[in-house]
Assembly symmetry: C2
Homo-oligomer: 377 residues x 2
Amino acid sequence: MAVVGTGLIGTSIGLAVSRHGVTVHLLDKDEVAARTAAALGAGVVGASDEQVDLAVLAVPPSAVGEVLAEMQARGLARSYTDVASVKAQLARDIRTSVDVPSSYVGGHPLASSEHCGPLAARADLFEDRAWVLTPSETTSQDAVNRVFEMIALCGAIPVIMESGAHDNAVALTSHAPHLVASLMAARLRHSPREAIRLAGQGLHDMTRIAVRDTGLWSDILQANGPAVAGVLRGLRDDLTTLLATLDDLSSTPQDMRSQSLDPLVDLLDRGAAGLAAIQGRQAADRQTRVEVQVAEGPGQLVRLLDTLKTFHVEAEDVVPRHSPEEGTLSLTFAVQPTRAGQIVLELGRAGWNAESLDPVSGARQRKIVSVLAPRAA
Amino acid sequence: MAVVGTGLIGTSIGLAVSRHGVTVHLLDKDEVAARTAAALGAGVVGASDEQVDLAVLAVPPSAVGEVLAEMQARGLARSYTDVASVKAQLARDIRTSVDVPSSYVGGHPLASSEHCGPLAARADLFEDRAWVLTPSETTSQDAVNRVFEMIALCGAIPVIMESGAHDNAVALTSHAPHLVASLMAARLRHSPREAIRLAGQGLHDMTRIAVRDTGLWSDILQANGPAVAGVLRGLRDDLTTLLATLDDLSSTPQDMRSQSLDPLVDLLDRGAAGLAAIQGRQAADRQTRVEVQVAEGPGQLVRLLDTLKTFHVEAEDVVPRHSPEEGTLSLTFAVQPTRAGQIVLELGRAGWNAESLDPVSGARQRKIVSVLAPRAA
């Protein structure tokens, strides 16, 4: 295969595919980039004498059409794909401007990094990530299958989408968030020194994705402007309501404030719901609760929390309960119904007194173990 | 000492201070929380018979005044501090409503976690973090010194600030960013399933701090509303400009777009500058560049990059250079002038041909080693 454009994405594809013994030909108009990618082990510099099966055009979105036409004209490959994060306009351009549109299938690997350039490339960049393909009616099945093969070699998961649906989705999950991070980061430009000193991990994480590559993002926003603007308009409406609420609060006496807080509480609640949506949390009422008794003695609670972490049950999802009659402390937490049995069983094996509670009545369903204190750690 | 309120912060303080042999008395109107904190090793449940030196009121911002008055009335401690993230209004309230305002010094540990409750507590939560104190003219030096001692036991770094300056700083670095994360997360509430599937680490990091504890944040925003609104109003102005630019772009023919991109590029640039400000990066022109030759042979570039990482030089900050005459590849990167000498020396010891370049002319300052190829790895 061939990779045209040996930046972060192109070089990472080369590294991933080369591991499996496939020869990758690296092309870049910047010869240093191509040589660097080759030195990292991503392939060999320069085109093959023979036509390759697949060429990946890992060039900026606005250059894909032109590079595709050029590479088709010199017969570089039998099939082509790209890695641009906006697909619909590109598909329209290619349909009208390219000789053999059937040999091209739009692609977008969902791998992100705030770094760029070949030196930041990693063979495992795509592992377990989604890789969207947006074939049109004219795309040949051969082209799609060749890209499937490359995606498999990269350890990624193919997702077929209609190009417009893809663009709307990434406007919401990637393009708008990047711009919102930039909007927040722009506020920090002339921060007093003492404010910077108080900046914590939360602020760093929130602004980390602020756009640095202005050229790339101008491309993206030109191609996906209306979808991104749609998301940001909704956000601006919420922001306007929030500002009005904050102004109201300042002018309302403290004891009359509870009602004027409503729009604020509504926004925060919707934010929490959105967070739960992307974190894939299930509603608590669709989960099974598990109760574990904490054994008496120093360190037992810490030991139990460590054990729960191995089941991906985090401390924040755990509710402590104290029984004054029995003088015992127990922890309850909610897990997916399919996982509850296994967790109770393994906690029992580790010596803890655990049981799952009926999701509706809260009654104890089954008592797996009756050991009251855990075995020695 | 005593901790009143054994949530995440109070319990973490108890854990940190207890490590050093100080007896911590844990009070919470929720007895389960106090018992849980005690079971974790944060101290003993219930007040001491004798007056303690220091009580930390780790209760919600709106409760601090009332709890302080109550604890002073029962003579719990000689000095008091709190952990609320808004300080100016609280200071005013306390000055007028509390019997002995001199025994209180406002405090705010800059430790964050998206988790809450005693089970999420960690003894090292405050390590190397800033801990702001906002003493007023009436605050006794004894009170400040007792809090200094506790901060030292927690491994944190004290920062003295005027309460209003503190509130403006956290509006910018914490309160506004949390709300912006909520605004973005709120957009994701009814995302199509396929969009959620495309959500990557960037989106997760950006929205992670979206507010979940509505009660706490209503407190914070009531107390710091004007400062937060000031930050958000600036952000809304930028957002309005951005939306107008996106609309313009959609209606401008492709070949006439470069000028209408200006406001967008300006915003992205300001965002990048803000990011650089909080990441504490120095301007490149105040740095010394170092150049290292990559030895010939497979794996040498990867080995060099791994070595550079041990000096905290990341791949994204490294620029490759290819010399066509000599057929060699070299890397250059910028570091703080004070670190350049040491890095060149250690690279030389590891067998690399490295030199630092004059920051003004780019001329080679000194050649530390003249080995052309590194010694065997």
